[in-house]
């Protein structure tokens, strides 16, 4: 029995380690960003749909918890819409909170990285001396509901937060990544 428990514990530890290695925090002058080098959400049917000229919207939520993982102290939500230029063969991403923020990327990996890099939290809000965890949650947007949080003035942050407060629909793809515990003062400014 004991070896089995040990094996399970080791597996769990390994999974946690992998999850922790999937998301890293970095700090700019004023903001905290995350990096997810192994994250790939532009794959399979979504990628095919993009290459067919459709748009693929994704909702991102970045949170930082302090003390315990459930104690979220700061949160950012964004909707990114990815499309693929059929003539230039490049991926374009628009951040819906400010329609003018565009990114043109030669590869799907670069487009994914652009999305992750363009959601951030204010660094000043991070408390010093506490264990912190950053968590990035991504959901594909149900095509039928994709325009619901978007109005003429941009995207409704409240609607997005509400979206993340609900469990994902079965047909929605979902990715969740978390960092290992870190301290605000340990973040090196880049």
């Amino acid at each position: 029995m004991r070896p089995a428990i040990a094996a399970l514990a080791a597996t769990g530890l390994f999974a946690l380690t992998v999850a922790s290695d999937d998301l890293f925090v970095r700090r700019s002058l004023t903001d905290v960003h995350v990096v997810a080098p192994r994250l790939h959400f532009l794959t399979g049917k979504t990628l095919q749909r993009l290459r067919d000229g459709a748009t693929a919207p994704f909702d991102f939520q970045l949170t930082i918890s302090a003390g315990t993982k459930n104690n979220v102290i700061v949160r950012a939500v964004e909707r990114f819409v990815v499309s693929y230029d059929v003539w230039q063969e490049k991926f374009a991403v628009v951040r819906m909170s400010d329609f003018h923020k565009w990114g043109m990327n030669a590869s799907s990996n670069a487009a994914e990285a652009w999305c992750v890099d363009n959601i951030s939290l204010p660094a000043l809000k991070l408390p010093a001396g506490q264990d912190l965890w950053a968590r990035l949650e991504i959901r594909s947007v149900d095509q039928k509901n994709q325009s619901s949080p978007v109005s003429d003035s941009g995207i409704s942050i409240i609607s997005l937060v509400e979206l993340f407060s609900r469990p994902p629909r079965p047909q929605q793809d979902r990715w969740t990544l978390e960092t290992a515990a870190f301290h605000a003062d340990a973040l090196k400014q880049q």
Binding site: T55, Y84, M96, F99
Partner: protein, 457 residues
């Protein structure tokens, strides 16, 4: 397989480098059956627009990077569909404008409801002109029962087709039940089963596999003519009581709207006498097809549909009959407002001993209307020359047909006929339409008119 309609106004071409096109395989809305229009992967260009002139997409649709491009065409992938006038007009509005994802999504939703499809998705493909895109509509329709096609000819009787279609992804299964006493020398009834699919990652290659099984009957005139035919006749296989066909093929879009279909057909003919040996007509099939439409304005529409078909029976395919069949046809259609003219030409040539179903026929419900095909040649001929002119005003039609079907070495006797009727469409594009016509053979002596009624044929 394709028809392309393009603006012919030189000034527009000079000013506006981007050609806008909508894919229509069928006539303009004015000429179709009320509220129903047939669309497939053929292309129509209605007017020309530059990026600067094109209507701007909504700001909300600018999130698609392709919204800077002009929609040059909208067409279905794989097969044709009958759409309402509203849907056609919705498509026309999108042609020549910048890509608007929201509007395209609305259009696909509209079509999905109209066709009762499981899903309709759109794809953007690079257009012919830089900066233009073609919109390809993919319909995921699980099951479909189409409106049956039929024709009735007071000389020949009925011809009818009932069709059921099932679509699973890009695979299309079609099942037809056919009874035809009109279009061939033989009177046949049976089934056609066909499987078609688009080759993955391209909309330029279509694969198909067809299986047919028919039982034949013959008119008394055909029996008599067959009994009287000499051994030197070019007729192969004699009369047969059934035939079975297996036909794999592939269609390549060479350069829109030019397509090439290549395939083989393995046809087995069971003779009328059970003791006799079955014959086979195993042929290589090649069909080159060009279909294009031009639209100068809402009033003027032109269409050109031309094809060449070669069927060559070869020993390489273990064919017991040896022959080569060439068939060419062309159709030109011009409409200006309520007036229209259609010109059709068909030529055919057979070398060798071809079975009855390959032989050419005139005097049916489509060609040399008004004549009795058994009176012209009860066994059909191995030579064909035919032309037809139809003038239309609103739904009124008057037509004049002329042609001859004969055998090599015998004189070609040209026959003429004329008729009038009402129709909601023309030729093969009148799918979904009806035709009622009275046709007369033009000859001296007693003239018996032939009444023709049809739908979707």
């Amino acid at each position: 397989m394709e028809s392309q309609m393009q603006s012919a106004t030189p000034m527009k071409f000079a000013l506006l480098p981007l050609i806008a096109a909508v894919t229509l395989w069928g006539q303009s809305p004015d000429l179709d059956a009320p509220g129903q229009h047939l669309l497939d992967e053929s292309t129509v260009s209605r007017s020309s627009n530059s990026a600067a002139e094109a209507p701007a997409a909504d700001s909300s649709s600018d999130i698609n990077v392709n919204s800077k491009y002009i929609v040059a065409s909208i067409r279905f992938v794989g097969r044709s569909y009958r759409l309402s006038r509203t849907a056609i007009e919705e498509m026309h509005r999108l042609i020549g404008a910048r890509v608007n994802t929201e509007a395209l999504t609305k259009l696909t939703s509209h079509i999905k409801n109209e066709l009762r499809a499981h899903a309709v998705n759109f794809k953007l493909d690079r257009g012919v002109q830089p900066g233009s895109v073609d919109v390809l509509l993919e319909v995921d329709k699980v099951f479909d029962l189409s409106i049956p096609s039929f024709a009735w000819n007071s000389n020949e009787g009925w011809a009818g087709i009932g069709e059921a279609r099932a679509t699973l992804g890009s695979n299309v299964f079609t099942f037809d039940v056919i009874s035809d006493r009109d279009s061939l020398v033989e009177q046949y009834a049976g089934i056609q089963a066909k499987f078609e699919r688009t080759v993955p990652h391209t909309d330029r290659v279509f694969m198909a596999f067809e299986f047919d099984q028919y039982h034949e009957n013959y008119a008394a005139a055909t029996h008599l003519a067959m009994a009287a035919s000499d051994s030197s006749s070019s007729l192969g296989a004699g009369l047969y009581r059934s035939r079975m066909n297996i036909e794999p093929s592939a269609t390549f879009v060479l350069a829109k709207p030019l397509t090439l279909t290549v395939g083989v057909s393995f046809e087995e003919l069971q003779p009328e006498l059970p003791a006799a040996r079955a014959e086979s007509a195993n042929v290589v099939v090649n069909t080159l097809r060009y279909r294009q439409s031009w639209e100068d304005s809402d009033a003027i529409v032109q269409e050109l549909d031309a094809g060449y078909n070669l069927r060559a029976a070869t020993k390489l395919l273990s064919s017991s009959l040896g022959y080569t069949r060439h068939a060419a046809n062309a159709r030109y259609y011009y409409r200006n407002g309520f007036q229209s003219v259609e010109i059709k030409v068909a030529l055919g040539l057979i070398y060798g001993n071809a079975p009855l179903f390959e032989r050419f026929v005139l005097g049916d419900s489509n060609m040399l209307r008004g004549w009795n095909k058994y009176e012209l040649d009860p066994l059909g001929g191995n030579r064909l020359a035919y032309s037809s002119v139809t003038y239309g005003y609103h739904i009124m039609r008057v037509f004049y047909d002329a042609g001859s079907v004969w055998d090599q070495g015998k004189p070609a006797l040209f026959k003429q006929s004329a008729g009038a009727g009402i129709s909601s469409g023309f030729g093969r594009l009148q799918r979904g339409a009806f035709l009622l016509a009275l046709a007369f053979p033009l000859r001296q002596g007693h003239v018996e008119p032939v009444f023709i009624a049809g739908m979707n044929f």
